[in-house]
Amino acid sequence: MRGLTDTPVVPVVTSLGAPELATLAAAGYEPLGLLFETGVWAIVPGQATLEAYRPELGRRNFEHPDFTAGLNEIRRGVLARMRSQARERADCAGIVGIQLGLAREDDDRAGSSLVVSIDAIGAPIAPAHASRPTVRTALELGGMTA
């Protein structure tokens, strides 16, 4: 994108708010963009689940083996992909403000008992290359316009 000057202006899309951007800049970091990853997986209960639900064991407490492993894998897979995306920028120092969300998908075509999707959103940051002019902000309380 080009603005009124010859210097190219690349807009950065980020989930960070204005106060956070100001804090980040003051600490010597800048946002690189917005990372979004999603994964939709079908989790199929296997032999371990059948074993756990044997009627002779009664209605006892136990950990569900296949759903635990399945949800673990999808959550970590999404985080790993997000990490790889961020690493494509060599100067990326890390990702802040990661939020993970989980939803069940209504899709019986997979033929399994559980289809879930996990979304992750985060803000990659990098050390600022150039020093920015300091902007002092002031809150004005009240004030009437004529």
């Binding site: 980040l24 635990t68 949800l71 985080l79 961020a86 120092a93 979304d119 985060g122």
Partner: protein
């Protein structure tokens, strides 16, 4: 309450292939981190002398058993209490093991959540999620049991705690699932049209709350903590009906690291942040 959750710092049992790859890559690239900390939290954790290493997650999907109850009797449902505690402990232990494999001294901003889904009426997912951190100058900050410390304090509270001369030892919790007795018909008739205390209900909630608090306190004493800060007491029914309630107490056990506990003089702050949402944007559903 018995705790049969074994801790193995090198364990990758239950960690899927993606998880093992992610941990290995994070170890190879120690200068890159992932975190659910907000910008302010991230900067204050750095200011406190810690580097974030990565987002760590532990989870367990647990089948919660069944326990019969007497209609007109106040009683703890220990099968359900045990299930809710054990599943949380499994999730926490897995999160700590993941942090250990990253070489972390601790985990900050831990959130312990319970999700019930429509696909399993007796199932619940317990998730522990937080950011693993390591002291930048290599000072040992682990808990006395050798595990990375855990804390549900925000980055701001973590910085304030360290600045004031305390350090977190670990997240401590206690719970109690309690059946509150139903009232008999005769009692119900006696109380029609009158303001009066319901001693049966009062006593039941009192007992359950005290049991949860006492168990949390016992955990803190086992860690040799001086106190517990930021205690939260949650009360939830988890779909068991209105007369079965879980009281869950959670807080961060702390220990002094020096004699004086001077803090900077407090100043008045007018916040412009959104009071309804966490800083850093809206949380995904």
């Amino acid at each position: 309450m018995t705790d049969d959750t074994t801790y193995d710092a090198a364990s990758t049992a239950g960690v899927p292939e993606h998880g093992r790859e992610r941990i290995a890559r994070m170890r190879e690239q120690p200068r890159f981190f992932t975190s659910d900390l907000t910008v302010n939290e991230f900067l204050l954790v750095k200011e406190a002398g810690f580097d974030p290493l990565g987002l760590v997650v532990g989870s367990s999907i647990y089948h919660i058993g069944f326990q019969s109850r007497t209609w007109n009797k106040n009683q703890e449902l220990d099968v359900l209490t045990q299930a809710m505690y054990h599943a949380r402990e499994l999730a926490m232990t897995r999160m700590e093991e993941e942090a250990d494999q990253l070489g972390a001294d601790g985990v900050v901003g831990v959130r312990l959540e319970v999700g019930r889904y429509e696909w399993g009426t007796d199932l619940a997912e317990f998730i522990a999620i937080g950011t693993a951190v390591k002291h930048s100058e290599g000072l040992l900050h682990r808990a006395p049991n050798g595990r990375p410390f855990t804390s549900d304090l925000s980055g701001q509270d973590f910085w304030t705690l360290l600045t004031a001369g305390y350090r977190p030892l670990g997240l401590v919790m206690g719970n109690c699932v309690y059946h509150v007795a139903h009232q008999g018909l005769a009692n119900w008739f006696k109380q029609i049209g009158r303001n009066q205390e319901m001693p049966n209900f009062t006593q039941a909630l009192y007992d359950a709350r005290e049991l949860a608090m006492e168990r949390m306190q016992t955990e803190a004493e086992r860690l040799e903590a001086e106190g517990i800060v930021a205690v939260q007491l949650h009360e939830r029914s988890h779909g068991w009906g209105s007369h079965v309630i879980e009281f869950f107490a959670i807080g961060t056990a702390v220990l002094p690291i020096r004699e004086d506990h001077q803090i900077p003089p407090p100043s008045l702050v007018l916040t412009l942040n959104d009071p309804l949402g966490r800083e850093g944007g809206n949380r995904l559903p």
